[in-house]
């Protein structure tokens, strides 16, 4: 019993010696000696674990704040403002600062979902199947609705049967290919994005 009590007393005294608050009260500096503890001695910066660091741009508003993305085994572990950027000089607003939370969100859907006509549920489907099915539907709709000339002979070579919406959250290269394929290749004219909203 006594042994246990002694051991507890020793632990308590070690704990109090290691705990920052009593040491600060006894005059040690909160930003120097008192900031160290046996725990802190063994801590390493989390970012040390990153095996890849790259530059990214905040995916929200058009201010274009630059970010540094730290990744480990292909997964992001930390995102912060890039201090070199003349736009944000390392700062981010609550949205930009939360980017990691978006990438790792539990609400993220990592698989293809398919809802058949009149069905009341989503089904998981292979990506390749979905791509083939979408390509077939696009061709079918386009072939049904393409107009080569108006009744008076004016050439239009377009379809009003397919529409595309979105682009302002995508890369420039992605926008370029959407306009090129859907507009230049398939004759879709209603290609629109958030610029009007």
């Amino acid at each position: 019993m006594n042994q246990i009590r002694r051991r507890l007393a020793r632990k308590a005294s070690e704990f109090f010696k290691d705990w920052s608050v009593p040491r600060q009260l006894s005059g040690q500096s909160a930003v120097a000696e008192a900031a160290r503890s046996s725990l802190s001695e063994h801590q390493r910066p989390r970012l040390e674990e990153a095996d890849r660091i790259g530059t990214s741009i905040c995916p929200f508003c058009a201010v274009g704040c630059a970010q540094l993305v730290y990744a480990k085994h292909g997964k992001p572990i930390h995102i912060e403002g890039d201090p070199r950027s003349p736009v944000n000089q390392g700062t981010l607003c609550p949205k930009g600062a939360g980017t990691l939370g978006m990438m790792l969100s539990e609400l993220r859907v990592p698989e293809v979902l398919y809802r058949a006509p009149h069905s009341s549920a989503w089904e998981k489907r292979p990506l390749d199947w979905a791509m083939a099915r979408i390509a077939a539907l696009v061709k079918q709709t386009r072939d049904e609705t393409i107009v080569d000339r108006l009744a008076d002979g004016t050439p239009v070579r377009h379809t009003l049967g397919i529409a595309s919406l979105g682009g302002a959250t995508l890369d420039n290269e992605e926008n370029y290919l959407i306009k090129k394929l859907l507009g230049g290749g398939l004759g879709v004219v209603s290609i629109e994005n958030q610029a009007r909203i």
Binding site: M131, H158, E174, G184, G185, L186, S190
Partner: protein
């Protein structure tokens, strides 16, 4: 202007934006300017954090911006407080307008040329005397040339007639004095509800911070564009800035604060119906666009930079159709689809409801939340044969068939909805590489740092592989209508196990290359109209000037103590110029207006323009060069060395716009389409050219309809971004803004017996929604026409998916558009508000 250039400003007016909350990091340059002594002004219906940080907050009733800005123009003109040396030299203030021109002052509130039954204007009487001025190419929308009947005449062979003494009764200066004559401080107070004293404080601050030594800036966001006269609001600010000499100069400008990370890029390289990459018009069957020759004839302006259009258009056709684009075949121009009307998002929504549209792609957008009249959007989606939604988490647009308002209300059921729906998960910025263009044209590359989970793929992957499959499906077709997809160049290299297409290869194509050697071109000056060059977007030319030099990836900011506009940090189009029209930062002789405000100047020794930014001017065109009209100069030769506005046909800043605007050459105050009051300025109540699409589920409220007595306005929040699901599925931001709310002034709350945190119901002819009330002095009633007008506000960012949920404000809004842009109105409509809940519509979302 560049974002960081705001720090050089002496007076910053934020209007139509809550910049501190919605563009927080850009706002740091406003506070920096303030720390250096600048005056910050916030003109806004609400008192927000932006107002709290401003020296002056001027409250105005939602939608009355043109009355306020017109009042400033009036004040500057009658008190002679404009920057004469600048405005006289660089604007069309002295130009003389046609005799047939009638101003709203003398024509019952509308301009001459209105075809009232069609709601469009003919522009003939808005021209300079004896001339027909061509609109800069990008502004030639379908009705513009139609209104000219026969197309814009191409025979301008003289500069516009002018009267530099400004005495001619039909010179732009005199027309403006008459046009804005009744926009007095009394009238401003009467229309906007802003006290005269506050309004005059704003005018005084603007006037004091103008001239050689001082500059001011305006910052705006969708608080200006989301109106039935949004373009004219921005025009009004541009007129003020041109009169005060605040364009092309350090700390001067009109800064658009745009919403999405690539909204600028997706406008430049447009996923928009009416344009081809970098502001060339999409061919239109209703105009003389039948062949390439017709198109170029109709669209190539004789004078100004846009005269280069044929080089850019033919290079685009080479980039898209490669071998098929041969000179004897009109460079395959006939493979491009032609427009037959307005195919923008608003009429397309109605076309979905009407069954014209059968299949739709949705890329990272969420129209059920973001589009006006959400229930109509749901009806449209339910009427599709197929729908492909690409996003990173479930969106309202993808799940409308299960959880939508119409389904919850029992009007629709999943078994009645035949739409075949695909949800394809997308990769995000750090999981793919490519460029995003920020709101100041800064094209910034982002790296791929990590791998996207599961089946998440970049949109580049999706579009590339869809295109590959379609090319296979069409490979054997000989039908002429299938020629475009067969001819389309589509050979992008792919990398890795996932066959990810190489984004750099796409950016190289956008930059442009020589066809024979496939050598990257260094900039748009190398583009030719003979088919020897290919270029996917001429304004971006220079971003990838050699095979391994990606300037969007450059990360070399200026060193502390030196300032050359951070030209080593990424790339800004065009030609890495950071401030557009920066020739105007020097006086007509080429000297900086002052030492304090120097930016670009003429160096006589080297015979070149030089300075702290890349000159937005022909490098060796001397300030005293004048066009020789005897020789019929074309293109840039027709612009002199003191004409900084190189994209305009006459090199001048257009205060009065002869061609290119669909609703008038000068901004004119009209009431919003839905308003509780009549127009105090004119007999004409609302914009006569507004785009209306009648539909039984899209009813509009009459002026002063007693059933809908309050002004309704919407906005977003620092933490929750637009209609996209992103921030609602992001734990931190969702926790910070846990549910939807309606902002109500204490006065209105008292009037209808509403307490803070009570449930309340908002209603319009389009629908009803509920949310908790936040009773706050941030909203105040306005005293208009002898009575109080109440305003109600609500963030529009909510839906039924994500961690943070609530009713979608866009249920209340209607589908109608600005005449120039087809942009919807979200800032000023009318509504009713009552205490209580919507019976039976939902227990929980």
């Amino acid at each position: 202007m560049a974002l960081w250039d705001l720090a050089n400003s002496d007076c910053i007016t934020v209007m139509g934006s809550n910049m501190a909350e919605n563009h927080p990091v850009a706002f740091r340059f406003v506070t920096e300017a303030q720390a250096r002594g600048a005056t910050v002004i916030h003109v806004d219906p609400r008192f927000t954090r932006t107002s709290a940080l401003a020296e002056i907050h001027a409250p105005i009733r939602s939608g009355t911006d043109i009355a306020f800005l017109g009042g400033i123009i009036h004040y500057l003109l009658v008190n002679d407080l404009w920057f004469r040396d600048f405005a006289l030299a660089y604007t069309n203030l002295a130009a003389i307008v046609e005799e047939g021109y009638l101003d709203p002052e003398e024509n019952d509130g509308v301009f001459s040329g209105l075809l009232a039954d069609r709601g469009i204007y003919k522009h003939d009487t808005w021209q300079y005397e004896g001339q027909i001025s061509a609109a800069a190419s990008a502004e030639n929308f379908e009705q513009t040339t139609e209104a000219f009947e026969g197309g814009v005449a191409r025979d301008a062979r003289n500069p516009p007639p002018t009267d530099p003494t400004l005495q001619h009764p039909r010179c732009v200066y005199q027309i403006m004095r008459r046009h804005f004559g009744r926009y007095t401080p009394e009238m401003v107070e009467h229309v906007t509800g802003c006290p005269q004293a506050t309004f005059l404080k704003v005018c005084d601050a603007l006037a004091r911070n103008s001239g050689r030594e001082r500059t001011g800036a305006f910052c705006y966001a969708v608080g200006w564009t989301h109106h039935s006269y949004g373009v004219q609001i921005i025009r009004a600010a541009s007129i003020i800035q041109a009169l005060l000499g605040n364009i092309g100069r350090p700390g001067g400008g009109v800064l658009a604060l745009r919403g999405h990370c690539s909204i600028q890029g997706s406008t430049d390289i447009p996923t928009l119906y009416n344009m081809l990459p970098t502001y060339m018009p999409q061919p239109n069957a209703m105009t003389q666009h039948g062949s390439l020759a017709d198109y170029l004839k109709a669209q190539t302006v004789p004078t100004g930079w846009w005269n280069n259009l044929p080089k850019y258009m033919i290079s685009l056709l080479k980039a898209w159709y490669g071998e098929a684009a041969q000179p004897d075949k009109g460079f395959a121009y006939d493979l491009l689809p032609k427009l037959t009307g307005d195919h923008s998002q608003l009429p397309t929504t109605l076309a979905m409801v009407d069954g014209v549209v059968k299949g739709q792609f949705v890329f990272g957008q969420n129209p059920v939340v973001g589009n006006t009249n959400s229930e109509l959007v749901e009806r449209g989606l339910a009427n599709l044969e197929w729908l492909v939604v690409r996003d990173f988490a479930m969106t309202e647009t993808a799940s409308f068939w299960k959880k939508g308002r119409l389904v919850r209300r029992g009007e629709l059921a999943p078994d009645k909805i035949g739409t075949e729906i695909f949800f394809l998960p997308s990769a995000m910025a750090a999981e793919k590489e490519g460029t995003l263009t920020n709101t100041t044209r800064l094209v910034q590359w982002h790296d791929k740092v990590c791998d996207a989970p599961g089946d998440c793929r970049s949109d580049l992957w999706f579009v590339y592989h869809l295109g590959r499959r379609l090319k296979q499906l069409y490979a054997d077709s000989e039908a002429p209508e299938d020629a475009p997809i067969r001819a389309l160049t589509w050979d992008y290299p792919t990398n890795g196990d996932l066959s990810e297409p190489d984004a750099a290869a796409v950016l190289r194509e956008i930059n442009g290359y020589t066809v024979a050697e496939r050598r990257q071109i260094s900039g748009f000056l190398e583009l030719k109209d003979d088919g020897s060059t290919a270029c996917g977007g001429w304004m971006y030319s220079g971003v990838f000037p050699s095979a391994d030099e990606n300037r969007a990836r450059s990360r070399k900011p200026d060193r502390p103590g030196s300032f050359t506009h951070h030209r080593g940090w990424a790339f800004s189009w065009p030609d890495n110029r950071r401030v557009l029209y920066n020739r105007a930062s020097a006086d007509p002789e080429g000297e900086p207006w002052s030492e304090r405000k120097r930016l670009v100047w003429w160096d006589a020794k080297s015979g070149k323009w030089t300075g702290l930014d890349t000159p937005d001017f022909i490098r060796d065109k001397a300030p005293d060069m004048r066009p020789n009209w005897e020789e019929n100069p074309i293109g840039s030769e027709a612009l002199g060395g003191a004409d900084p506005f190189i994209m305009e046909p006459d090199g001048k800043c257009l205060l009065f716009v002869p061609s290119g605007l669909k609703d008038g050459p000068l901004p004119t105050y009209y009431e919003p389409v839905e308003s509780p009051v009549g127009n105090p300025l004119y007999k004409q109540q609302s914009n006569p050219a507004v785009k209306l699409w009648r539909h039984s589920a899209n009813g509009l409220h009459e002026v002063g309809d007693p059933r809908f007595p309050y002004v309704f306005t919407t906005y977003r929040l620092t933490e929750l971004h637009c209609g996209g699901i992103a921030t609602r599925a992001m734990p931190h931001t969702a926790e910070l803004q846990p549910e939807a709310f309606i902002e109500v002034s204490p006065e209105l709350a008292r009037e209808i017996g509403l307490n803070n945190l009570d449930w309340a119901v908002l209603s319009t002819a389009r629908g009803e929604i509920e949310a908790k009330a936040l009773v706050t002095e941030r909203l105040r009633p306005f005293h208009i026409s002898g009575r109080y007008v109440h305003q109600v506000g609500m963030p529009w960012v909510y839906g039924w998916e994500g961690y943070t949920r609530g009713d979608t404000a866009n249920v209340l809004l209607a589908i109608f558009g600005d005449p120039n842009t087809s942009i919807h109105t979200t800032k000023a409509l009318t509504c009713d508000l009552r205490r209580g809940r919507l019976y039976g519509t939902r227990a929980r979302l």
